[in-house]
């Protein structure tokens, strides 16, 4: 590098008046941009991981607390208290014969609910911030790629964060329980397990993108009341879908809830002892849902960025 001109010490005055030769050197020394789709995409992913690393403790504390407390109360405290609080037995008998403890139902359910939380936290919240007030979204919208690539990148980054969250939660829901209350987890097909986890992560991230682009920032509180809470409570997190056959109308109604397929898909691969939805239905819903939400989310995203 011989192009460097004689450069004075960086300006010290607080207002920062640069010298003319320094500014001139900026133009002369400027590197030639050579962006490609892949390079820019990777740089955006690198940016997400830098942010994730910076906020790692806060992000994963948030991810872990709900499932941790749930298994603690339901798989440790309740069995210890005993008798009337033994929730698991009744709910599980619908699926298979024999006594299945509540922890077994909770393992896939809590992982699914955590995926949804992470998807929303990783995609929707930042997006709403970026679209509001200062519109910081313009920072990345000016990167030399089509806007829909930016949307896809947000889905991929959110899905990775969800996936990582699930990996952290898995041992917690597996190992936190009272003596003799261990969940009956038996992974027969690891490939299918990882595939379902990945598909569910993409589904929540694409849903997160759609929500982030249609939510009114001033009504963010509504997200919990109207989306997260019903999706979780009616998402077969705390009971298997097959057990709902006692309430036939509800069993059908909950099929519009994407959470159901995430819980049931994980149930099928993690705790096959429990009755679960047929695998083809789960896969169809997870992959189909991801495609639909990605399509819709990318459209609304592009429309929000380019007004």
């Amino acid at each position: 590098m011989t192009t460097t001109t004689t450069r004075q010490a960086p300006p010290q005055e607080p207002a920062g008046a640069p010298s003319a030769s320094d500014i001139a050197a900026l133009i002369a020394d400027a590197p030639e941009p050579r962006p490609t789709l892949i390079r820019t995409f990777n740089a955006m992913m690198a940016r997400e991981f830098r942010v994730l690393r910076r906020n790692a403790i806060a992000t994963f504390t948030r991810a872990v607390m709900q499932p941790l407390l749930f298994v603690f109360v339901f798989a440790y405290v309740f069995p210890k208290i005993g008798g009337g609080f033994a929730l698991g037995g009744g709910a599980a008998t619908a699926g298979t014969a024999g006594s299945i403890n509540f922890a077994t139902i909770l393992v896939p359910g809590l992982m699914a609910s955590m995926l949804l939380m992470q998807g929303i936290m990783a995609v929707t919240f930042p997006l709403v911030m970026e679209f509001s007030w200062q519109r910081t979204i313009e920072d990345r919208a000016l990167a030399p790629v089509p806007i829909r690539v930016l949307a896809i990148q947000k889905i991929v980054a959110g899905a990775i964060q969800s996936f990582l969250g699930a990996c952290i939660v898995f041992p917690i829901v597996l190992f936190v329980h009272a003596a003799g209350q261990a969940p009956h987890v038996h992974v027969t097909n690891w490939f299918l397990f990882v595939f379902i986890l990945a598909a569910a992560s993409l589904l929540t991230a694409s849903l997160g993108l759609l929500l982030g682009t249609i939510m009114d920032p001033r009504k963010m509180q509504m997200l919990f009341a109207v989306i997260l809470l019903p999706a979780t409570m009616l998402g077969c997190v705390y009971y298997p879908w097959s057990a709902l056959h006692h309430i036939r109308w509800l069993q059908i109604a909950v099929l519009i809830n994407p959470m159901v397929y995430m819980s049931e898909g994980l149930r099928a691969v993690l705790t096959p002892v429990l009755g679960h939805m047929p695998m083809w239905g789960v896969l169809l819903a997870l992959v189909g849902g991801t495609v639909v939400f990605t399509y819709l989310g990318t459209r609304t995203f592009t429309r929000r960025v380019l007004n």
């Binding site: 450069r7 960086p10 300006p11 005055e13 207002a15 920062g16 008046a17 640069p18 003319a20 320094d22 500014i23 001139a24 050197a25 900026l26 133009i27 002369a28 020394d29 400027a30 590197p31 030639e32 941009p33 050579r34 962006p35 490609t36 390079r39 820019t40 740089a43 955006m44 690198a46 940016r47 830098r50 942010v51 910076r54 906020n55 930042p126 911030m129 007030w133 200062q134 519109r135 910081t136 979204i137 313009e138 920072d139 990345r140 919208a141 000016l142 990167a143 030399p144 790629v145 089509p146 960025v305 380019l306 007004n307």
Partner: protein, 323 residues
Amino acid sequence: MTDVPALAIRTEDLRKTYKTSRGDVQAVRGIDLSVSSGQFFGLLGPNGAGKSTTIGMLTTLVLPTGGRAWVAGLDVVADPVGVKRRIGVVTQNNTLDMQLTVAENLEFRSRFFGLGLREASRRATQLLEVFGLADRRKAMSTDLSGGQAKRLLIARALVHRPDVLFLDEPTAGLDPQTRVNLWDILQVLHAEGQTILLTTHYMEEAEALCEQIAVVDHGEVLASGTVNELKEGTGAETVITVRYEDTVPADITARTGLADRPGVSKVEAAGDYVRVFTREPDGVLGELVTAGSAAGLTVRDATQLKPSLETVFLTLTGREYRE
């Protein structure tokens, strides 16, 4: 690059109409611009004149509803990615990445434009030194003062040597010292051949920086040219005001005979002052002083306002400039 166009920016009847619940809002109603390479071009107009919408269309973030626009020879609608590669944009809002540090804001922008890790970090260091932010490199971008944030925004727009640098109201809300510093930076960039399009609602900013100015209001270009051309073209006049120690007599206008002087369009006399609007100001002041002493009046103060963008705007729109 072989495709460097003579015109850095060109628009033809560029339009933007927003559909709202209360009907259509025509933010830009057919703007024609030509900015040559290396030019410092200013869009001057009050807030809400359509400047930001125009810059939004040129930087591909606002889709035109009519007309066409080319930046660096590329159609902004047909090839937005190509355009984005060739431009640097300093937005009016603070669009710094709030999750990143000062240095990271520059490094990642460099990487978005395809620079390698090491190259990006070297470029960031260079930019931070020049823009006086070297000691803030590890600070979060949210912790910067308004002036520092604006400098970082400009530095960020320059990571990849853009063909055209867009600045949307770069000095709005900054203190005078910081504003003058930014002016200095922009002038050096311009001297180095950087094409710049700047929007501003400050008359003096357009006058101090821009070679070529388009005066816009209500989504239309009212006039364009150099500052001098604008002043001459619109027939703006010099305004000379002389205040006396006492109230001027009613017939002072007749006594001076100024109304019949060539170039004078109007003579106002009221209270303690006489005001003359003229295209040929030489000698008018002297005559006012002489006429005053003849009437037994002592001059208290005298001002001579040359035609300015403000008088231009007044003549063009027939109303006060609303900032």
